[in-house]
């Protein structure tokens, strides 16, 4: 009996020694999962038809070690060499027998993914997209019904949730939005200034930057930042709630997830979005003024007077009109993708990515639609 195995054991590499005289294989060392791949099995020549495997010197044996030994004996068997194992202590023999009884039933079955014809895949994908559209429309309908019912009992609007959403999606976004808008204003003024300088039309910088920022850049930058910050946050929040069965818990209590999770987000974002665009406009114009002063030597006062005369509030309003569409879209896409989270942590990440990409995609489409409408109306 080997009693003196210290608790912090030493691993000895497993070794195999073939003794050709009496057809014996001697095993030595620790036969464990970390070391069994280091075993160098001897070449068995055809003249030995009966082998004795002497395992009495093995220090330790675990199921991986037993597996390695069994595999070796299988190989021997395939070459018509019969073998017996001797010298295993009682508990090791028990483990060996257990593993060898289990291993004979192993049926390796790896997933074999069948490749489908391309048309089938296109069809399936299209159908999935169709289902998604239906799902989104269902959510919109559910949201409208919820808001309609809420008017019967204004408490159901959950103003505290709305306010916390305004803080999360609006107020905390102010610094980053200000910084990026300012930088865009600077870059815009610089690029235009290069051209204007050659014509000596410096003062037009106010008109050009004002038009570009009020009508396009302000709303778009705001939408892009909110899509990145907020739509992903909505998806991750609702997605993890779904994983944690919190959505199911709400449903079973007879409470509507739309009322608690979707409506406050959509309403909050719709309220705060025009303000964010306005904020972005201010800093975009500041950036343009700053660059105009440095590069084109236009005073701040002249710039602002020119801005009021040639651009005016009307153009700013045209940009602000885009706010509700962007806000509702971003909030809806974020929530919708959150509800589509499946059963794994992986799918939270997957749907979050999807929600940001889809929001950005749809923002640009909607912006284009607005441009078409404005030009049709000669605005």
């Amino acid at each position: 009996m080997n009693v003196n195995i210290s608790i912090m054991r030493h691993y000895l590499p497993p070794t195999v020694k073939l003794n050709p005289e009496n057809n014996t294989i001697e095993l030595n060392g620790s036969w464990e999962i970390y070391s069994i791949n280091a075993v160098e099995w001897p070449e068995i020549t055809a003249n030995s038809h009966k082998l004795t495997i002497d395992a009495s010197q093995i220090i330790s044996l675990d199921s991986a070690g037993a597996y390695a030994l069994i595999e070796f004996r299988k190989k021997l068997h395939a070459r018509n060499v019969s073998s017996i194992v001797i010298g295993l202590s009682a508990d090791k023999a028990e483990l060996y027998d257990l593993i060898s009884s289990k291993i004979s039933h192993l049926k390796p079955q790896l997933n074999q993914e069948e490749k489908e014809p391309i048309l089938v895949r296109i069809g399936k994908e299209a159908y999935q997209k169709y289902l998604q559209l239906i799902g989104l429309l269902t959510l919109v309908g559910d949201l409208l019904l919820t808001i309609k019912h809420n008017f019967d009992k204004p408490r159901r609007f959950h103003f505290d949730y709305i306010f916390s959403n305004i803080a999360q999606t609006g107020i905390f976004a102010l610094p980053i939005l200000a910084l990026l808008s300012f930088l865009i204003g600077v870059v815009l003024a610089y690029q235009m200034g290069l051209q204007l300088e050659t014509y000596g039309a410096n003062i037009f910088i106010a008109y050009l930057c004002g038009m570009a920022i009020f009508r396009e850049f302000g709303p778009l930058i705001t939408a892009i930042i909110v899509a990145g910050r907020t739509s992903s946050a909505f998806t991750a929040q609702i997605g993890s709630m779904k994983l944690n069965e919190e959505i199911d818990a709400l449903e079973t209590m007879g409470l509507s997830p739309t009322e608690f999770l979707v409506a406050p987000k959509v309403i909050g974002l719709t309220v705060v979005f025009p303000l964010l665009i306005f904020w972005s406009n201010i800093f975009g114009i500041l950036g343009a003024m700053f660059m105009g002063k440095i590069m084109l030597h236009i005073g701040y006062h002249d710039f602002l007077v020119r801005l009021r005369e040639s651009v005016g509030l009307k153009q700013m309003a045209l940009g602000l009109y885009k706010a509700p569409a962007f806000a509702i879209l971003i909030a809806l896409v974020g929530c919708f993708q959150g509800f589509r989270v499946g059963n794994s942590a992986d799918s939270v990440g997957h749907q979050t990515t999807k929600s940001v990409v889809q929001s950005l995609f749809l923002i640009i489409i909607i912006d284009a639609i607005y441009s078409i409408i404005y030009s049709a109306l000669d605005l």
Partner: protein, 246 residues
């Protein structure tokens, strides 16, 4: 003389101003199935987390495989981690992997076995815990609670540990699955030479599979004896615990 795989000396843990453990002592000898029980908030989970090096105790000494966990080097800690397996309360299977991949994952990362060997060994573990073969390619969420627990046990056994921690292994299982799971624990202990530490509330299950039970209360191990004796223990906390449950 039996060797102690785990030795805990004078363990102290505090939560806010309240002592969770105060001078707690516990020895777990090799080859034993030992359960840790106690009322809610008695510090079972904290004790487990301290042993698993997930949480540093305030004071005191924990020795696992003879190594003191305090100020342990990274290499030694990794060595200890390679010799234990843990079954978490909620199974904690990686949801993005199939059962087979879950079990192969530690082998893939920690050993130099070939893919074929890893797969064979993983399938071996799957059949050892009594899961059907086709469960190998299923994702955790496709399995029932009992099957998830078995898959988690198979993953805990992936590296052939000598020491197995089970955190509430039968909680939430139906009585039949729970009994089968207990039989599995005893089978594994006998055939794989394991030392098993169980945290549990399930008295019926403790009766079936434990050698001894440690009752934790008042920050200490109040009693450490086989479950039949523990049930007759006159200590007020212990008597109350059993009177509430049975």
């Amino acid at each position: 003389m039996p060797q102690n795989i785990i030795e805990i000396r004078n363990l102290d843990n505090k939560f806010g101003k309240q002592w969770i453990h105060h001078k707690l002592q516990l020895d777990i000898p090799k080859g034993e199935i030992l359960a840790i029980i106690g009322g809610s908030g008695s510090g079972k989970t904290t004790l487990l987390r301290s042993m698993l090096m997930l949480q540093e105790p305030l004071a005191g000494e924990i020795k696992i495989f003879g190594e003191n966990l305090k100020n342990i080097t990274h290499a030694k800690a990794q060595k200890i981690r390679s010799r234990w397996g843990v079954l978490f309360q909620h199974s904690a299977l990686f949801s993005a992997f199939t059962v087979l991949e879950n079990i192969m994952f530690p082998m893939q990362e920690l050993t130099n076995l070939t893919k074929q060997q890893q797969q064979d060994l993983a399938l071996l573990k799957i059949s050892l815990v009594g899961l059907p073969n086709h469960a190998a390619n299923m994702y955790p969420y496709e399995l029932s609670g009992g099957m998830q627990r078995r898959a988690a046990a198979a993953r805990a056994l992936a590296m052939d540990p000598e020491l197995l921690f089970l955190d509430e292994p039968t909680t939430g299982l139906d009585p039949i699955s729970a009994r089968q799971f207990d039989e599995l624990i005893v089978l594994l202990k006998n055939s794989l030479n394991l030392t098993i530490v169980i945290i549990s509330h399930d008295i019926a299950s403790l009766e079936r599979c434990t050698d001894r039970v440690a009752f934790i209360g008042e920050g200490k191990v109040l009693a450490l004896e086989p479950i039949e004796q523990l049930k007759l223990n006159q200590h007020p906390l212990i008597a109350q615990y059993f009177s509430n449950i049975i």
